[in-house]
Subunit: 274 residues, 2 copies
Amino acid sequence: MKRSNRLVVLTNYFLDNPRKHTQLPYFVDRLNTTKASVSEDLDIIHHVFQSEGLGYLKRTTGAAGGVRFIPENSETLSTSFIEKLCSKLEDAERILPGGYLYMSDLLGDPKTVREIGRVFASAFSDKDIDVVVTVATKGIPLAHATASFLDVPVVIVRRDPKVTEGSSVSINYVSGSSRKIQTMVLPKRSLQEGANVCIIDDFMKAGGTITGMINLLGEFEANVKAIGVLAEADDEEEERVVDDYTSLVKITDVDIKKRNIHVQPGNMQTDQVK
Amino acid sequence: MKRSNRLVVLTNYFLDNPRKHTQLPYFVDRLNTTKASVSEDLDIIHHVFQSEGLGYLKRTTGAAGGVRFIPENSETLSTSFIEKLCSKLEDAERILPGGYLYMSDLLGDPKTVREIGRVFASAFSDKDIDVVVTVATKGIPLAHATASFLDVPVVIVRRDPKVTEGSSVSINYVSGSSRKIQTMVLPKRSLQEGANVCIIDDFMKAGGTITGMINLLGEFEANVKAIGVLAEADDEEEERVVDDYTSLVKITDVDIKKRNIHVQPGNMQTDQVK
């Protein structure tokens, strides 16, 4: 195969298989070329990925040597994406009764969701995550997008047990905003003991839901390595019960009367600038 | 920019922006090259995409001429993926009480989910879909994957209204298997009237849930252009209420005593072979 064709095939392969380790002979075979040519192809792709801010190819040498694509957004890309997100969220039409914000359109847009996943996966790239955990319903697309870039599975915590998932572990927790006692359930066979977990959710106020998830994950002796929330909002009545999290945006003022919202970059941005 | 670099940039661009129409001057500018060179690049990518079974580049000429990437799995790719899926599902360990099958691991694997989405999007490529609709919870990842290849948004029907979505339209329907009366809700602002809709769900037995969705979508005067279900199963007690659907796999026998399952390709495969 000619170099130009090989570059298209290889670029597609890496984008379709993030973090997957592949040995060079596989490519030599598949592309019907030499190891030296593949090696040059990989150099080209590596440099373009880097200059485009998409991530990089990580080469390993030795007998089982090979290459994997590590998707990592450049800071510039993440920053400009988050800024766009903030201005989209500041639209007064989003204000719902009770001071909530309508975000379902953004969470229903595959491109936005994919971008959010890319930003989280970049932020947690070195955390050695085994599985992404979220709670039904709205966090699911974000969890899947993040997991696809980390090349790990998604496990969904539910608020109601389903017959189609077998025996489960459940806990009760107090919802931060409504102060009601609620239940969370995770099927036994869905998570291995001692897994390194990344929690992803769409929204955090007092943090009750995430605390509940941490407790439930404790039953599986999981290590919570990272917590990512799309949007955090201040809860005036209550102190936040979760400290160590990464948020993309922060909703600071929702003035229902004046129909005014203020949305600023979350703590990820501040941490990155340091 | 050199051709080799341009090919990497362009391949990434198309894979990241399926079905998006882009005018050639955008690429000329971005890649700092000539229109003739871009045109040659596009030819190369088009041919590689075709020979790899990934889809094709669709060129439009004239003043507003440009190009869009139409992702379409080749029949060979779809067939071999569906066959693998069948054999994964035939694992006796999946049998749950009540004759249900544990599928959460597959629905939690981003790569499998993406592949399912690619197969549905290929099947519905010419249906002029405006939006993918699913019902919470398990269909959500499949709906997002399908929507990402069709470049349309996802709308999620819920079984319980949420305060964070504003005013809603709801209907009652009779669940096929439990024969209970259930509720389905869709926020008013989530779907425009008269939209062309594709329904995606993970599982269909008698089809009660999908009939419910069709009725709810009727309230929005939506046109249901396609229905895709990952797995269909026979319901001995009841006739199927939905006729026109596309299934990837069909679960024909779940023998709990003998711990035996039979899974075969669904009607999409048979339709394609015709």
